[in-house]
């Protein structure tokens, strides 16, 4: 052996080494498998969370929840005529609990149901609202004329004897606040991104970019607090509307939370537009302003659009700011009325909802709805971005 061969201990003689496969670099092989598992677990987490939310919300979709105060009890002696599934639903017990019960237990439970009905206060006997199951879909999404109202209305009022679960005020509130936030944040953030990436002097850019991105480090509680105390007062004295805390204030505050997200991604997209485009435009006699708007922005449009979609996801999911600034669930499209978003409702009411009860189920249903909304918006966003990209790159 020559000295150099002795030094290189990993080298095998002749062609032997080429058959070692992954044993040649076990470290890299292990690391690759580990990273693969980590990324797999992310997918798994999303799936698990979705399954959990869906499972908790399922009874609403299957119509297994019942909030009617007055219902006709089944005579306890009819116990044998009912199928196990029907019994479980009637007695509101799980199959596991059902399996452990003797016939005598079940009989007792059915008698309790009868007693429950006897205990219902007399005033509800003739109240039509007390006879309906308010978790049925028509009461969840359609207006209903409740006792004491002179026309059908959308009402979210999950506490009290007659629980009203109409989700439309919450959906409208969410959309109102999110759209105001985006209308405010997208132009500002994209404008700032164009300025920073295309027009600003390098030294100013180095200061401005981290400053805007620092905004995202402010906890939303702090933004909400600021909006509650300062912005609400200032805006009211400017616009002279009646309700001090309303969707408009919440939307603007939400905008502040969303701006850094949109800015950061849009700025990256604009910066990654090849400099050759800029040079070509300038050499044709375009001003820097024209180059930025007419050449760079259209070329970066897929990325800028992605930034807006992400901003939408962040805005629709933001809880704290809306919770602090306004939270009355009024049904109104006016931006100067209060609004209550879906996330706010879940955060504020989950703690007081009885686990497994109708209110609890409905809150989970709202969570599933939100999940579906963000999922669909992201998917549509992705499709549009692909379209844009293919169009820009000349693929059909």
């Amino acid at each position: 052996m020559t000295p150099s061969e002795q030094n290189d201990s990993r080298r095998t003689s002749g062609w032997m080494g080429i058959q070692r496969g992954h044993q040649a670099r076990p470290g890299e092989w292990l690391a690759e498998k580990f990273i693969f598992l980590v990324s797999l677990s992310a997918i798994l987490m999303v799936l698990l969370i979705f399954l959990f939310v869906a499972r908790e919300a399922l009874p609403v979709f299957l119509g297994q929840t019942d909030t009617a105060l007055v219902k006709k009890p089944i005579p306890p002696d009819d116990l044998d005529k009912l199928s196990p599934a029907k019994l479980e639903a009637y007695l509101e017990i799980t199959p596991e609990q059902f399996a452990k019960m003797t016939k005598a237990n079940l009989h007792d439970l059915m008698e309790m149901k009868v007693e429950e009905q006897d205990d219902v206060p007399e005033k509800f006997r003739n109240d039509p609202d007390a006879h309906i199951n308010t978790t049925e879909w028509k009461y969840l999404v359609q207006p209903h004329q409740w006792k004491g109202y002179d026309k059908p209305e959308y009402i979210w009022q999950p506490v009290g004897e007659i629980k009203k679960f109409n989700i439309i005020p919450l959906v409208v509130g969410t959309l109102k606040v999110t759209l105001i936030g985006l209308l405010f944040a997208v132009p500002l953030a994209v404008g700032a991104a164009i300025y920073v990436s295309q027009l600003a002097r390098p030294r100013f850019r180095e200061f401005l970019k981290p400053a805007i991105e620092l905004l995202s480090g402010i906890p939303s509680v702090v933004v909400g607090f600021f909006a509650l105390l300062v912005m609400a007062t200032v805006l009211q004295s400017l616009f002279h509307y009646q309700t001090r805390l309303n969707a408009f204030v919440a939307g603007l505050a939400l905008g502040f939370a969303v701006i850094p997200v949109i800015f950061s991604i849009a700025e990256d997209a604009l910066t990654s537009v090849p400099r050759t485009y800029t040079q070509a435009a300038l050499a044709l006699g375009a001003s820097r302003w024209q180059t930025a708007w007419q050449i760079v922005l259209p070329a970066a449009l897929p990325g800028v659009f992605a930034a807006a979609v992400l901003g939408f996801g962040r805005a629709i999911g933001e809880t704290m700011i809306v919770l602090m600034v306004c939270s009355a669930s009024v049904m109104s499209w006016s931006v100067f009325d209060s609004a209550r978003s879906i996330t706010t409702t879940i955060a504020a009411e989950m703690a007081e909802a009885v686990s497994g009860g109708p209110h609890y189920r409905i809150l989970f249903m709202l969570g599933a709805l939100l999940f579906a909304a963000t999922f669909i918006s992201n998917m549509i966003g992705d499709l549009v971005i692909h379209r844009f990209k293919n169009k820009l790159e000349g693929k059909k």
Partner: protein
């Protein structure tokens, strides 16, 4: 100021031969350029005639591209660039603070080394520059676009797909589109920074034919690494070496009987 930056083709054509001997179109006088502390151009003096193809040759890093980019002030985009000396085009100092850079670049067009069509349709690529300079009506646009695409020998290949993306063209077609885009706004001077270096031999020869055609209308300054190309298409050649102008003269003379030893070594392939 901007309006009178360069004499219009009409007036210069009238006084054609006389102007040629009187004042050169481009007059570079003792120009030095610094990138920060390093000196990239060392006191260059050069006079370029109208409607002549001038080739800038020299090894990489000799400053030929830098000098070219001075002519339409594309170096303004780079930080820490400082220029000394005077550079006159049509009698006007283009580094005068009063010069409108946009008007200058309209008159001094540029084609880059790497073809860089915008991610728009073929039609829009040419229309962009025209619209920038005030051509609005559809009929005018259509006519000017056909004219410049024909001039750049691309019309027959793309006339049926003017509205599909320019990025779907081949490399050579893209470069000819960039030339069409540059000549559509009718500049007086066309700067070309190694326009054929990324093209295959067939596309290169088409671009070279095109340059010979364009010579009738434009003053062309071309930077090239390809000695044969310089010899084939240029009338005048300037040889640069590490920021200095070594020799400038008729192409024929530079390639057959150079005055300087360094020029002879370079054009005969002994270094560079």
């Amino acid at each position: 100021m901007a309006e009178t930056l360069i004499p219009k083709p009409a007036t210069s054509a009238a006084s054609g031969a006389a102007a040629k001997t009187a004042t050169p179109l481009i007059d570079i006088d003792k120009v030095s350029l610094y990138y920060g502390a390093s000196k990239a151009l060392k006191s260059i003096s050069l006079k370029l005639e109208e409607k002549v193809v001038t080739a800038f040759i020299g090894p990489s890093g000799c400053g030929k591209s830098t000098l070219l980019r001075c002519l339409n002030r594309m170096n303004d985009l780079i930080d820490n660039v400082r220029i000394e000396g005077s550079m006159r085009i049509g009698g006007h100092n283009i580094y005068d603070p009063n010069v409108d850079v946009i008007e200058l670049r309209k008159r001094v067009g540029m084609v880059f080394q790497k073809s860089n069509p915008f991610p728009k349709s073929i039609y829009e690529n040419v229309a962009y520059g025209l619209r920038l300079h005030g051509v609005k009506s559809k009929a005018d646009l259509d006519a000017r676009i056909e004219e410049s695409l024909t001039a750049s020998a691309l019309w027959d290949e793309v006339k049926d797909r003017l509205h599909s993306s320019a990025l779907g063209l081949s490399g050579g077609q893209q470069q000819r589109l960039c030339i069409a885009r540059a000549i559509a706004i009718k500049p007086e001077i066309l700067l070309m920074d190694e326009p054929a270096s990324a093209l295959d031999p067939i596309a290169t020869s088409r671009v070279e034919d095109l340059i010979l055609d364009l010579k009738k209308e434009f003053t062309i300054v071309i930077v090239t690494h390809n000695m044969q190309q310089a010899a084939r298409i240029s009338d005048q050649t300037a040889f640069f070496y590490i920021g200095e102008l070594v020799e400038y003269g008729a192409t024929q003379k530079i390639f057959t009987n150079p005055a300087q030893k360094r020029t002879e070594d370079y054009v005969s392939g002994r270094f560079g």
